[in-house]
Symmetry: D2
Subunit: 371 residues, 4 copies
């Protein structure tokens, strides 16, 4: 192994996502041979005690409490943002202007304007938005099947992201329930993932109509949203995201029905992909439960031998690896901030459609085509 | 067993549904002790050779080719209609006016006006619309759990009816593809079932917005439809019906998420109901796969011992038994033609919503409340 | 439809199996065009009231209480036996000697000697033993895949028949718990089915070692049995049958692992077959859930359209149809009494192996090869 | 966080297990607050290039090629062994004699004598055998349910460990196929896991009878083994382990049927446990699919929020955490080398039973009782 260039990382934020990101920075080179040696240089947040604990657990070399200072530190090469949503914009813009690579949690921002501001600021630095589910091996394999034409012409797409913790009373101080901080409820938190996957797997959406609900008494952000959509390729779509879908924990699932094949995925069983190959003799056609742990499946040869399943955190590791590789090669990484803007536009259309009870036609000229 | 009153049945139509109905008439008293002795008096249709074959297979005593003559025969007590949809109205009205009980395949009619005409004509005779899936034991058990309050407050309802045979080229002469005969494609054929179940299980729908599609080149009826809905009880709903949902054969499924329990059902596994009881200790909560073959489940003690599954045709047998019992007791049977009208109104709203790209507010004053 | 020969049937016994058989006699010509017109001539048993009820429900023309008289009635063409097991032998022998076709519930007898006696008596008349699960469409399709070489060389076979009702206190008068009447507990009742399927699907067994248990205090028949086996084709097998396998209702399941394909079946989901085709590209290999309702699947085109599932009773209907067809053609029907003898020998070997704690080598020279 | 005592670890071996162990040493304090600070001091093996690569990937500070030197290094506190099986004994004995804690891959040894030798040598130092599946959260939760009496009296236990890679031609040089190095094939590799879990979950085995097979032409170790067993608690058991169970990748599964509850687990879906609670009302009893990711489930609150699944490697992390905690408290860790000896005795009984075609009665006086 030749000597690798060192990449100094600063992470702003230290919650659940901070742990998942820390793990990725720490582990990526255990599983992959990335082009960089990563140094967990600085972790930044407001609570010094929590920062020190996180630093100790994950190996961050230093903790600081002022993000503005951090993004300007000359030794920092990459800034990773996992703060409440409303801080994404100022941090990302400052980091990008300071010439750092910028990695940011989803949703990219709380408005299209903010997202566009970020994308513009980051146009000369590598950027990443953590739509990590694109790198679930089973999801990546689904995309591969679609790219190979194994689905034929797609007729239907259904994307559901169903959780149930919203029915429990919540800490009113939690930022996820503050519209100013979170921007939205399930729209930014869950629907954004479903829309990103849909566009990535099935192409741009050209029309949508939606209904946004707040089911909990007195809550200020949305708890559930349903969407009808039509894709550019003529297929019909439906989306649901909810924190009130009792009986479901983390069911980020999709089904795609095409003329030559059909696919189903469910994040609660993220090592499996269901595939129905319609080109096969009719008698033995059926929903195949493929255990996507190799051989021949994306990423997994870097993890464990076939049959040994991986967990949630590996989606971050694989995302980071692909990002580092793209950066070293000087090619565009996807999903970057421009992809984040696209999702933001869809979220805004969902919001307007529901408020005005109208169908929205999306201006595809500004929508970036997925690779 | 005391001597039972004889009920002479005439059936108009002899296709797939004719077989399912014949089986029910023939078998109901093998499994249930209904109040009537059924006589399969007359089968009626246009093709004499096919009629004779059907009569021989199922034990119809006589075959005739003119339905008008049949509905006026004095000895006939009940007229069962399984013709193409456009004939439901004239036959049902004539039969009702002749004082016969009337049983009719779904959808009740091809328009709200026709359905209302039928319901009015049948207001003094017992009527039935064959929404047979209400009597799947697992579905009936789902309703029982809902009635017992086991679901608590309902937040979400999703009803899908997914088939895939639409992608194959069809016999252009088949009545199901003629708008004049079928009235519609999946709307009447599949969505009607989903809407009937939804209203029965979760109460009236107060708003909806939909998109209706014809995916096959040159086809004159709809192949797929998607719907957003809101129920009177405040829950949100989505519906999809399609003949292009490849990978699915006959997936008439629903999921209901309530504050105290969640339910999932799929007709392709119609002997199972999935139930998640949220009143239970959290650690052992999970999606229970209940094999609804008894003991303690609706209908099934009349079929086979626990663990021995039943097939599709038993839904017709149980429906018929409940109808005969209600008739003998002089009480209203559900779903009757009034319920059929309700579904027809929903279908019409779906159609208008899609054509005009608007949300429809349903006038609930005319909507009959489910029992 | 040409005029068919009439076949007068007498059925001895009227329990659960009596209902399933009655249904088959009554319905076979509704679904299939069998070569015979069946007349449900006589039902025979000891309890006159129950007989009359059964006769009324299922259309038996006459009821009688003395089986010896019945089997000698000149007009009877076929005698069907669904009595307690110990009566199989005398009735079958008498019926066969009277020249009747003989159909008998499984297990064929309570000893190899009795079974051989029956087979010898029946060697000049058509005979049938009701191993009805051979005619589950999914099981028949599994056999077809095996015959076509789709499994390659078989390595493993596991047959389980798991029920749980044994843990409940039983009516001590029930014949199933009397060794003299039932012969055994789960061995004859459940394991016999598993062994018949195993031999039919994977060929003769050449060695076995077993353990037979009575788990309920004071019960006189076996409640559970486990078996290690080796097949003539070199594959290894295990079997379990139990009435104490809590959590299972009627899980008659098997798994076959071969060099080119693997299969799983479970009677509780009898319309599905799981197939793993190993000749396929490795990346998309997986356990396919095939809904065996056509097109192209055995029997089901006679029942309902694809996607409409069938229930337990159709296995009897399909068995009867195949029997009648074989009789009309003058060819051997399988499983006949000789197949019943084979299973009886295996059951006896299981019994001896457990009692003596030894492996049993089965004399294959007397074992009849499956077709 | 107070200052923790440093624990210097040496690992002998660097294959697949070396990666899984390295990950555990590296990550345990990111997820748990263990009492020790772990230092990945030395990795030892024969191939210097591979060692250096492993050291770089996982953070080992030093690599050495002579294990005897390593186990005697004064600074080393704990020796972890993941070499081919035949080296377990000499390394463990030397390390224990040098006063080090000893952690060893399963199976503990290639004979009872060797295992006993190791256990005796390690009697004054903490020892661990890597039966990591005891710490799958779902398996640990199964044990908890059993301990709480939720299963009642157990009737049946079935343990299967099914893989399929054995059908592919293997590198003849691989140590797993050398009897001298591996000791056995699936017996030590797979059956050992199943037996350890069975004894841990259901108590000691008192009798067994088995059949051991080599299915691949010319292979020198066993490819498949089947076992009948009887537990001390009176329940009946069956076991199968195979590398020829095509269609299965890594199906380490068990089913336990008790009077009050039944359980099913499958490693391929290791985040789920199926539980059937028979104390519940009969109508809603069913196989619950519990997603064992919290709240209230073992270990998982240290990993990710509820609904975010974990992968294979976390079983090693949780095992290591429990070991370190036990060491710090001075209490016995389970499974230790004595547990490893118990499994070895069972494996030897399996081997003898098959060779001599006899049932083996296990001398329970020497069998250590599980906690």
């Amino acid at each position: 192994m030749q000597k690798r260039k060192i990449l100094n990382v600063a992470m702003i934020g230290y919650g659940f996502m901070g742990r998942a990101h820390s793990n990725a920075f720490r582990q990526v080179n255990s599983f992959f041979e990335s082009p960089y040696e990563l140094r967990l240089n600085t972790i930044c947040g407001r609570d010094e005690a929590k920062l020190r604990k996180m630093a100790g657990e994950w190996g961050w070399e230093r903790s600081m409490t002022d993000w503005q200072t951090v993004v300007d530190l000359p030794e920092i090469d990459a800034v990773d943002i996992c703060t409440p949503n409303h801080l994404h914009e100022p941090i990302a813009v400052a980091a990008a202007r300071a010439g750092k690579m910028v990695l940011c949690e989803k949703p990219l921002a709380n408005s299209v304007a903010a997202a566009e501001h970020m994308a513009k600021a980051a146009q000369h630095v590598p950027s990443l938005v953590w739509f990590n589910y694109r790198r679930v091996p089973a999801v990546r394999f689904a995309r591969q099947l679609a790219e190979e034409g194994r689905l034929g012409r797609v007729y239907h797409y259904r994307g559901l992201y169903l959780q149930s913790w919203g029915i429990h009373p919540q800490d009113p101080a939690a930022w996820r329930f503050h519209p100013e901080q979170a921007g939205s409820g399930v729209m930014g938190d869950l629907l954004s993932h479903s829309l990103d996957l849909a566009v990535w797997l099935n192409g741009p959406i050209r029309k949508l109509c939606s209904q946004v609900h707040t089911l909990a008494e007195g809550r200020k952000v949305d708890d559930a949203v349903t969407v009808l959509a039509e894709f550019m390729n003529g297929s019909i779509g439906t989306f649901e995201a909810s924190r009130f879908a009792t009986g479901n924990q983390n069911r980020n699932c999709f089904e795609i029905n095409g003329s030559d094949g059909a696919i189903e995925f469910n994040l609660e069983r993220m090592n499996h992909l269901h595939f129905n190959d319609l080109r096969h003799e009719p008698e033995t056609q059926g929903r195949r439960e493929i255990l996507v742990t190799g051989p021949g499946h994306p990423y997994v040869d870097r993890f464990w031998p076939p049959g040994h399943i991986i967990g949630y955190e590996h989606t971050f590791i694989a995302t980071l690896y692909d990002f580092l590789t793209a950066v070293a090669k000087g090619v565009r990484f996807r999903p970057d901030f421009c992809d984040g803007v696209d999702v933001q536009r869809l979220l805004e259309a969902v919001s307007v459609s529901s408020a005005q009870r109208i169908w929205m036609d999306l201006d595809q000229t500004v929508m970036l085509q997925p690779t």
